[in-house]
Symmetry: C2
Subunit: 333 residues, 2 copies
Amino acid sequence: MSKPSLGVVAVGNALVDVLTQVDDAFIKEQNEKYGMEPGAMTLIEEVRAVELYAQMPEGIESSGGSAGNTMAGFASFGGKGGFIGKVADDDLGKIFQHDLRSMGIRFDTQPLIMGSKTGRCLILVTPDAQRTMNTFLGASVELTAGDIDKTLISDAQVTYLEGYLFDKENAKNAFIAAAQAAHKAGHRVALTLSDPFCVDRHRSDFLKLVESHVDILFANEEEIKSLFMQDDFEDAKSAISDHVEVAALTRGPKGCVIIGDNEEITVDAAPVDKVIDTTGAGDQFAAGFLYGFTQGRPLEYCAKLGTLAAAEVISHMGPRPQASYSDFLSKAA
Amino acid sequence: MSKPSLGVVAVGNALVDVLTQVDDAFIKEQNEKYGMEPGAMTLIEEVRAVELYAQMPEGIESSGGSAGNTMAGFASFGGKGGFIGKVADDDLGKIFQHDLRSMGIRFDTQPLIMGSKTGRCLILVTPDAQRTMNTFLGASVELTAGDIDKTLISDAQVTYLEGYLFDKENAKNAFIAAAQAAHKAGHRVALTLSDPFCVDRHRSDFLKLVESHVDILFANEEEIKSLFMQDDFEDAKSAISDHVEVAALTRGPKGCVIIGDNEEITVDAAPVDKVIDTTGAGDQFAAGFLYGFTQGRPLEYCAKLGTLAAAEVISHMGPRPQASYSDFLSKAA
């Protein structure tokens, strides 16, 4: 077995974000009318996406998608990686494709020629810097097991799976195919739970996946509590330790807890002058952690890279780095 | 003559910006190969736009266009306005249209159905926060005199023209039609010179336009020097004072000079913690100035609003407000 040439290959939804600043009343009104989940992600259909967009203030567009954001951060650290996900053959698809490839990420999944447009995530950022997401998945749900490039996966130390993909059956099968290919090559599988409501929707499938296929789990406090249906973080933390090799549990401003082989490490959040937009915080934490991990560094160092990347991304609008993360390598040492 | 219900109607290129951070070496290499003008705007064709984009790092997309940016700022101050410009019937065109309409700007120019795509401006921001622009005008050059909505124009106190439109003959005719409609209604015409190289390309036409049609002129130091072919700012300043009612001359970190009826006012630049991206500085200065002007405020107050808006926009990536400019109204008083 030759040494993998890539650090991470991610499998995720290929989405372009539309980010806009709104007041709390806007979220409240939308929530009352349509059941939008404040601070979380709600899946919407195309008609609703068009309608909501028409009501939203001016936005900025940025390539997004949880796993895509993580790969952007991973590349900013200097990591080599790949991405598997489905765009359509349209303007937004070209933007998504360009952005990943421009940073050296291998991304060769065939775009969808007929059918849905490229998926988009309408993100409403409130004055407290919290983001509420409304996702029209579009072409991204057309990802199937046939799109999983097993050669690419067997060439990566870690295959990183985005929980959000679990929202569609096709994509779920793609997930399992990717995890199996990674393990067949003797490599690791990482999963991010993505969202407490996503966990609610698919709890038993997630539990099965974690037990049978996952080596490294990323989750925030709400997600891990939801997975094990525990009200208390300590109880949820105890529950996960038997199931995976490493669990990286993030707690927002309280930092993170890493549970590894016979050790538990707590790392404080990195300081931020002013939190502008929390979009991408978890994604960039995973980017930093995975970069350290694929470089064979100790878990504490991995966690520190994660907190530094998360601090950068929440200091501006948008889910991807606006500064080079390679500067964090010495800072975390 | 009834009182106009709008403050400003702008006529300009309808463009979506793709903003990206690059190092100086990238600009140098592109300049050597293709004659890109560092710090200025270069017009490019679609083939070159595709090629350059492929070489650019990850970007963020934002509705742009000089006059469109000004209208976004004007609306952020609380102003009512309109926009005339040409997008195509595609994703980027829908983004541009959405963004203006979302802030209450009237924008009803018919999109181009067949032909070019929506224009885009590829903007390279260097570590010194300077932006170098490469514009594929696309559908925006298909604006003709027939697109000038004279009812809209006669309903605005000021018709604001973007110098960049002078780069195409059709659009130049649209310009003249707009200026004539404004004056016929007894209202004012404002012009921004946009770019020293744009002035170079069309000096005699600009001089004729300024003399015959323009009441309020916006220019930065380089542009006004180029218009009168003067090496010295003081000489250029003297030259303009006979031609227009008001000249608002911006000087970057040195602030601005306003030349009005028997008065000359100097206003310092507003302080900025860290300059991130100068894209939109001139556009937002014009937004603030025009807001004050259409409220009948003294020139010094107008200039202060301009400097505050410019300071906000250069403190982040992107050419449009990310904070409400209405907060500046008391600050400038």
